[in-house]
């Protein structure tokens, strides 16, 4: 769906649900997810509807993911970092993990 500009920055490696994903320094986690074709990053806590990054500017909260063990972070507001572990979320989070 999305295509990178030719002169994007240096390569950064992270994992999404354990799977290695290659992205670029300066990407937000949301941009990295979309570039990798991950357009569903969570399901909602009440109806279980799928959600993916939408506004990309911190207002819609549709892009919530778990980053390095911290749940419900806004992927569009967090820059990627080498070795980052991103997990998609399913419904309500479980307390204690």
């Amino acid at each position: 769906m999305f295509k990178r500009l030719a002169d994007s920055g240096k390569s950064v490696a992270l994992t999404v649900d354990g799977r290695p994903v290659d992205c670029r320094a300066g990407d937000t986690v949301a941009a990295a997810l979309l570039a990798a074709g991950v357009d569903r990053c969570r399901t909602t806590p009440v109806s279980g509807a799928p959600r993916g990054p939408y506004c990309l500017m911190g207002v819609c909260f549709d892009c919530l993911v778990t980053i390095d063990g911290v749940g419900s972070r806004q992927a569009c507001l967090v820059p990627v970092r080498e070795g980052m572990a991103v997990e998609t979320q399913s419904g309500r989070r479980e307390a204690g993990r």
Binding site: P45, V46, G71, R92, E94, A95, G96
Partner: protein, 376 residues
């Protein structure tokens, strides 16, 4: 045709949980009811409360309060069913039994003594409470942290979705023809020839009876009909997490997981009547205790905090009164608008509809108790 001088059988003053429950009960009795409320910016405990239907800590120092609370707890399931039948809304009442968690031996001893005092009062009712040590407790609450030494438990304790209760009551009264009048702050009340005339910011409302259910504002209103409602408002704060999978199947006095998955933490007391402020240190203390009780909450995100002003009578017990100087004027006032909602709807409202409080049930709650020494 009715005379224009008396538009309503009863004017209920206060559109919160106490007023709405009373108005609904009156409408069920066939009364024509006006419910006078302030506007959206009113200080409103009904939108800030903790939503427990709570028995185990009520009534130390006044045994009839414990009995009154048990009565409401027992009536709550039927009350919720009636509301569901009328509105289609489920207020999510559950009574799985509740805990008061203790984080030190001293706390557990204090708790055990408090329940002993409650139990040993003349006229005490059995709230079936027990003190559980850690080994017993962990079987029912497997996620407690190492600091929890024990708890008290009562099977009569429960909780509800109180915002939905508030909405449901307002839906139910509208369906029963109660006239809801927002932005009608009552400035003065006079009684003339058996009719109450309530002066409001939007004109006069006339009614045969008046029920004052305006929370802390009863302090201002009650003297207008020859009654007293001594209050001491205080501020409480609540901290709420994101929605989590169900892990806690019993409410505790200070922490509960709602039907929607959020975890509410609360129970702070501050001498303040400013509802717009939050004291960070108070929130921090609430959360610190919550994490000692349930360490697995450490990774949960906090999504909301708020403060609200508790409706609190001077001694913490309810006030139900009827006026001698202004026959037909009543005060319905308490801290526990959620817990006692079933009583207000199903027991107190019918008394007001009949025109007299049933002394066998509510005599101990007259505000006259505040003036015992003065009147000898």
């Amino acid at each position: 045709m009715r005379a224009m001088s008396e538009e309503y059988d009863v004017a209920v003053v206060g559109g919160g949980l106490v007023g709405a429950a009373t108005a609904w009960g009156l409408a069920r009795e066939g009364c024509r009811v006006a419910l006078l409320d302030e506007g959206d910016r009113a200080v409103r405990a009904s939108r800030g409360n903790f939503a427990l239907v709570w028995v185990q800590s009520k009534g130390i120092g006044l045994a009839p309060y414990s009995a009154w609370t048990v009565r409401s707890s027992n009536a709550w399931a039927g009350f919720a069913d009636l509301l569901r039948d009328e509105t289609g809304f489920d207020v999510c009442f559950q009574r799985p039994g509740g805990f008061h968690l203790c984080l030190s031996d001293k706390e557990l001893e204090t708790r055990a003594n408090a329940l002993k005092r409650l139990h040993n009062q003349p006229g005490a009712v059995d709230i079936k409470s027990e003190i559980l040590d850690r080994t017993q407790l962990i079987k029912m609450l497997p996620d407690i942290g190492p600091d929890v030494v024990g708890a008290s438990f009562s099977p009569l304790d429960g909780h509800v979705n109180s915002l939905r209760l508030f909405r449901t009551l307002h839906t139910a009264i509208a369906a029963r023809g109660v006239r809801y009048l927002p932005s009608h702050r009552v400035e003065a009340i006079a009684q003339e020839g058996g009719t109450f005339r309530l002066a409001t910011s939007q004109g006069e409302i006339r009614a045969g009876r008046v029920a004052l259910a305006a929370g802390n504002a009863n302090m201002r209103l009650a003297p207008m009909v020859g009654l007293e409602a001594p209050m001491r408002p205080e501020r409480g704060q609540i901290v709420v997490t994101e929605r989590l999978r169900p892990f806690l199947h019993h409410p505790t006095g200070t922490l509960r997981q709602t039907d929607e998955g959020t975890v509410m933490m609360g129970d702070s007391h501050e001498d303040s009547t400013d509802p717009s402020g939050l004291t960070l240190g108070v929130s921090a203390k609430i959360v610190e205790r919550a994490l000692r009780a349930f360490p697995l909450l450490a990774g949960a995100n906090i999504v909301r905090t708020w403060s609200a002003i508790r409706v609190m009578t001077r001694d913490g017990f309810p006030i139900y009164d009827e006026s001698e100087s202004h026959p037909g004027a009543f005060v319905v006032c308490c801290h526990s608008g959620v817990t006692l909602a079933a009583n207000h709807a199903l027991t107190v409202a019918p008394m007001i509809a009949r025109g007299a409080l049933d002394k066998s049930l509510v005599a101990p709650f007259s505000a006259r108790r505040f003036y015992v020494q003065a009147t000898g």
